[in-house]
């Protein structure tokens, strides 16, 4: 085993959160080695090629993820089921942020104290049995400066609804107070967006453009979106999407303090006899290395972060690193997406133009933005109209009475492909004792290491919530002018998108894995970034929240005031100039 020179910080994974951490740590003067399992993408590969990027091939995960897809079973005494519908993750510099849909919401102030708020408003009877609903160990106000910073770094386009407590027309009146508007105006409102907006206004909702980490105008030396529609699951042909490869990784690399090692896969976190991390053992193209480090930051996807902790067993940590309270892997949550569909007979909706994130949405039915009394469920989700009606994926969208092959199928597609609208319906999933991640006892990856096993089911609270949201989405589609409307069937399995939990943060080491900075309760110099640390799921896309948390953690590790680092990054990188 080759022993490398010691470095201050070893970062595992250089994706959506790792890129953020690298930028902050290096700007603060820290030396960082980043181990990245995938290749050094240019960010312009496989442009506008749906075949390469769809789940069936997912070229982005060729280096790693495609060979270690988690297994799934619905409950702990259930048999393993066929691999769940999984959205392919990306490996490589930039990680999945290179190919994500780039929807960039903040979570609500209410999300950060969801347990307390739910109990105060609805009483203990409102909590479904078996839930581990928990408050976060920090508040929205604690994270707001980091949301603001993240929005500046990636370049978020949107229309603010609440600036320092002042509610602004046309924005989201339910959002937490922001210290200033978005860096960029919202993406263009399409005809499809206008249809949704008008229907939502007519129903008494408060529609607003989906905030997106996609440039509506040139920004920080980057080019604006062209509305080409090859966006979610693909790399952007002009670099308008705010993946870390096109935003913060170049800032970190320019400092000369970031050593990026691609094709290098972390195998375990090595700890010494005191229970302190001494570095990372990793497999490189030329064999196994040991990278000594003063601190270790795990910035892979939720699945791999958990797997690394569980595989880093020692005599002191017999069940995995930081797992002496048995909390690692617990309270895994996955998004349930159950869209509704409508045919607008004879109309051209042109949904095959524009990125997926070019949409309109409502937040009225999310979080605790509406009174749940008597509804039989807590929490909520969002309904949105979206673009990017890509032809391979979208030709799966057919009404239940139309066969999926033969002349009727062909006739339906030929007539209606450009007349179908999709309203996405995504809901918050509560944390349950029965939903968790562990190591599969049988299935292994090509290195012989067990893959993650997902134990996950959808329970009554989420079933009712999704039905409630779908009912309202159907009414919206009808108000938009759809003739024939149908809904996606309920499913129970994990979708492989917005997977969070497993190393949740909290104050109490008996019931959580990390503190609010992502630091393991049981190991003083190991930090976890990303979705694994979320105590609850939120009803919105989590990436911006994960990136804000990553900035906060990195500034904490560096021991430098965030504002100082921010000014340094502004000297070389994106700035609002005002």
């Amino acid at each position: 085993m080759k022993v490398e020179r010691e470095v201050e910080i070893c970062l595992v994974g250089l994706g959506g959160t790792g890129g953020m951490a690298a930028a902050v740590l290096t700007a603060a003067g820290r030396n960082v080695v980043a181990l990245e399992a995938g290749p050094p993408w240019s960010g312009r590969e496989h442009l506008m090629d749906e075949i390469s990027s769809t789940n069936a091939r997912n070229v982005w995960g060729s280096a790693k993820f495609n060979h270690e897809i988690p297994t799934w079973r619905p409950h702990a005494d259930g048999a393993r089921q066929p691999t769940p519908h999984t959205q392919g993750l990306a490996n490589g510099v930039g990680g999945s942020s290179l190919v994500y849909g780039a929807i960039a919401f903040r979570f609500h102030p209410d999300d950060f104290r969801v347990r307390s708020n739910t109990l105060e408003r609805y009483g203990p009877g409102a909590l479904p049995p078996g839930t581990g609903l928990a408050d976060w160990p920090l508040s929205y106000d604690d994270l707001e400066p980091f949301y603001d910073w993240a929005e500046e770094l990636v370049g978020v386009s949107g229309h603010a609804g609440n600036v320092r407590g002042q509610v602004r027309a046309g924005g989201n009146p339910f959002e937490g107070p922001r210290q200033r508007p978005y860096p960029l105006p919202p993406l263009r409102t399409s005809g499809l967006g206008r249809l949704f907006r008008d229907a939502a206004l007519g129903a008494g909702y408060h529609p607003f453009p989906v905030p997106a980490a996609i440039l509506s105008e040139p920004y920080a030396g980057r080019r604006a979106c062209t509305y080409c529609s090859f966006c979610n699951r693909l790399a952007c042909h002009v670099g308008a999407k705010g993946g870390t490869l096109d935003t913060v990784v170049p800032l970190a690399a320019a400092t000369g303090r970031l050593d990026i090692r691609t094709g290098c896969r972390a195998l375990r976190i090595v700890t010494d006899e005191r229970g302190v991390a001494s570095g990372i053992e990793y497999a490189g193209p030329d064999g196994v290395h040991f990278q000594p480090a003063g601190a270790v930051v795990l910035a892979t996807y939720s699945y791999e972060n958990i797997r690394l902790l569980l595989l880093s067993r020692t005599g002191r940590f017999p069940d995995g690193l930081g797992n002496n309270a048995g909390q690692v892997g617990r309270y895994y949550m996955a998004r349930q997406h159950l869209p509704v569909f409508g045919v607008f007979d004879g109309r051209r909706l042109n949904g095959f133009t524009g990125p997926a994130a070019q949409g309109y949405t409502i937040d009225d039915l999310n979080a605790d933005n509406f009174d749940h009394t008597g509804l039989g469920f807590v929490r909520g989700g969002r309904i949105a109209v979206v673009h990017q009606f890509s032809p391979i994926e979208s030709t799966t969208i057919i009404p239940p009475d139309v066969p999926r092959w033969g002349r009727p199928y062909k006739a339906f597609l030929t007539r209606h492909y450009n007349s179908i609208a999709v309203l996405t319906v995504g809901a918050e999933t509560l944390p349950y004792d029965a939903n968790f991640l562990d190591l599969d006892p049988e299935v292994r990856d090509p290195l012989g290491r067990p893959v993650i096993r997902i134990t996950f089911n959808t329970y009554e609270n989420e079933r009712r919530l999704l039905g409630f949201l779908q009912d309202r989405a159907v009414r919206l589609l009808e108000a938009m002018g759809a003739g024939r409307v149908w809904r996606a069937s309920p499913h129970v399995e994990a979708m492989g998108v917005h997977d969070v939990g497993g190393a949740r943060m909290g104050m109490d080491p008996r019931h959580s894995v990390v503190d609010s900075f992502g630091r393991l309760h049981e190991v003083p110099n190991v930090y976890v970034l990303g979705g694994a640390t979320l105590p609850t799921h939120g009803g919105l896309n989590p990436t911006l929240t994960l990136q804000a948390l990553a900035l906060r953690t990195a500034a904490h590790i560096a021991g430098t005031a965030p504002q100082v680092v921010r000014e340094r990054l502004r000297a070389t990188g994106p700035s609002r100039g005002a």
């Binding site: 590969e45 496989h46 069936a56 070229v59 263009r188 529609s229 042109n350 032809p391 391979i392 062909k410």
Partner: protein
Amino acid sequence: MCGDASTPPGGHDETEVPPSALTGAETAALSALVEGLFPRDELGPGALDIGVVDYLTRAFHGPYREFVPLYRLALAALDQAAGRDYGQTFADLAPEARDVLIGRLERGQLDELHGAELAPFFPIAWQHLREGLFGDPMHGGNRGMLGWRLIGFPGAQYGYTPEEQQVDAVIAREPRSAAQLPADGTESRVP
């Protein structure tokens, strides 16, 4: 989910059509299957015209190598059922009989012996069919962009104007393959 280790990042190894991984008889059965799934009719070209078999043949030598045994099993099962029920090969069946067997394949009622092994086949074949019909022609299917023309998708366009994003706007663009994009992404304006 299929690994794609044979395709190097940033490159395509699919410039030449390799010889089929299937026998001639198997290719004939495959042709009949995809044509049944998406037939030529008065609305326009079918799966064979659009190049779905060409697409699959190329993919069987690259990223979809692992699916060849499953296709073999399914095509053999279709041929056996055709022989038993109609005294013909599957490829020789009239469209009505062909569709009866495809329906049984979809419902998992084609072959009692191999029911479990065949269960994943239909969803996979359906995905591959749509890739061959509606994927970028650089992968060997969607010949002449006939699949895109049929449903009205203009392919790999640089972008769209605000006017084109209005409801009922007619987007009158000649379809384009991603292979026609400038390699460095420097195309600088919406045409």
